[in-house]
Amino acid sequence: MTKVVVENLWKVYGDQTVLENINFEVAPGSFISLVGPSGCGKSTFLRMMLGDEAPTRGRILIDGEVLEDEPSPDRGVVFQKYSVFPHLTALQNVMLGLELAQSPILGRLFGRRRRAARAASLEMLKSVGLSHAVNKYPAELSGGMQQRLAIAQALIKKPKILLLDEPFGALDPGIRAEVHEIMLRLWREEKMTIFMVTHDLSEAFKLGTRVIAFDRVRTRPEEMKAYGATVTFDLKVDGKSIPPQAPGAAPLAAAAQ
């Protein structure tokens, strides 16, 4: 269970202020939906959460500690595109995280440890409904399958925080609903804190326990450069419990060990 605190966060590129004065606290186990118009800085915020970009001012605390300034396994990510490795099969993509952790020099496992990693990865692929495609390369998977693969790949590391940047934007409504169910189930099982950027308000409210909107307050053309976007509304979604209840045991936790 991870608590995230965003304190007085600013991001300025050159003379362009993108984000200003962002403040909020996130209860452990929340599912935060981030919405806002295109170009308001949602992806920029996620990049700062990842440690890929440094805040210009302010800071982000994770469980009371200032966030590490480079990406690390405690913060998983699924991008809209390029989230999986094209040269690895689905199974290899998921196994990669386990192999990297256990084999610093070769980045590959052999024998018993390889079989264990393989079994855990197959279990994870099953939980996102990709059992039939374990030996396919990403280019052979549909968009929805690729995103589910990216989710499986990120979750095998058991990140404390999962960052999703418009992960389901390219999916058709049927597949999207299916992936939503998978996402909600994994979130309950893994007790992660999730930040999801989306342009789809119904998705934001359906999945999120809280919806946060970024937007510019000052929109006159001459003000566009000097003022960035900030939190313009912040809404708890009724009827959702935080932290989420985990129904039964967590099979994934067992599988990944």
Binding site: L50, D52, E70, P71, S72, P73, R75, G76, V77, F79, K81, Y82, S83, V84, F85, P86, H87, L88, T89, L96, G97, E99, L100, A101, P104, I105, L106, G107, R108, K136, Y137, P138, A139, E140, L141, Q153, A154, K157, P159
Partner: protein, 273 residues
């Protein structure tokens, strides 16, 4: 009538069209050769088929009177050996430095201006220096081939490494990868097929440097032979040698392409990553 850009030849037509320019070139040669030989039977410029085939037989299938070697094969072996070693060395250097320059900011800061300048040096201008430093033996020729193409391979690979989506590099880090592991599991496997492309593109230049080096100082090799034969205006030897070199270059390119297809299946699967 459909537009020309929308009309596609069927298989038979395609095959015929493919052969057409070759046939035209051959016929043009034969006609011109015939015409010259009928005026002067001793003309050396455009030898007829009989003297060419006699020359092929002499070079490829009869031992040389002086050395007892089958010249075409010994020439081919020494040229391919020089080319192979030079290209292999350039590939190794290009792969290592290209990936470092493309991936690691400190390496890029150190190397990119330097390799940029290196690649502007005309390699043939270095040939005298190489002969002075490494002597007239094998080493200077191999080094010329390697120096000639390595800067191109480095720069090409650096650009392609930089073009790996930033998301992939971030993703690898969130999976816990160290810099070394990123190189080993993410960058190298994706760059190997690109490296083969870079080598294929530089093979033409590699042959150029090889033949130039052999022409100037050597005692065997395909380049050595054609420049030696030039003194005797022996077109009947030079022409088949040129065709043989062309064939070797074509075959090498084909082998590399097939190897890439077999070894890197992921590149050719699905809708093409």
């Amino acid at each position: 009538m459909r537009r020309l850009i929308n009309r596609r030849p069927d298989i038979a037509t395609r095959f015929g069209l493919m052969l057409l320019p070759f046939v035209i070139a051959l016929v043009a040669y034969m006609v011109a050769s015939e015409a010259r030989l009928s005026v002067n039977p001793n003309d050396k410029l455009l030898p007829g088929w009989s003297s060419i085939s006699a020359a092929i037989d002499r070079m490829a299938f009869q031992p040389d009177q002086r050395t007892g070697n089958y010249l075409l094969w010994t020439d081919t072996m020494s040229s391919l050996q020089r080319l192979g070693i030079g290209v292999a060395v350039a590939t190794l250097i290009g792969g290592i430095f290209g990936i470092l320059q493309g991936l690691i900011p400190h390496a890029r800061a150190t190397l990119s201006a330097f390799t940029g300048v290196l690649s502007m040096i005309p390699p043939l201008a270095l040939l005298p220096i190489l002969f002075i430093v490494f002597g007239l033996g094998e080493l200077s020729k191999v080094v010329l081939v390697a120096i000639g193409i390595a800067p191109f391979i480095i720069r090409d690979l650096a650009l392609r490494t930089e073009a790996i989506p930033h998301e992939e590099i971030i993703k690898a880090q969130t999976l816990g990868a160290s810099t070394w592991q990123i190189i080993l599991r993410v960058v190298v496997p994706q760059m190997l097929p690109r490296l083969i492309d870079a080598v294929r593109l530089s093979l033409g230049a590699a042959w150029l440097f090889l033949i130039a080096a052999e022409a100037i100082a050597s005692d065997s090799g395909l380049g050595y032979r054609i420049f030696l034969m030039r003194r005797y205006l022996a077109m009947d030897v030079i022409l088949p040698y040129v065709m043989w070199i062309t064939f070797l270059a074509f075959a090498l390119d084909l082998v590399l392409r097939l190897f890439q297809r077999v070894a890197f299946r992921w590149m050719y699967r699905g809708n093409g990553a």
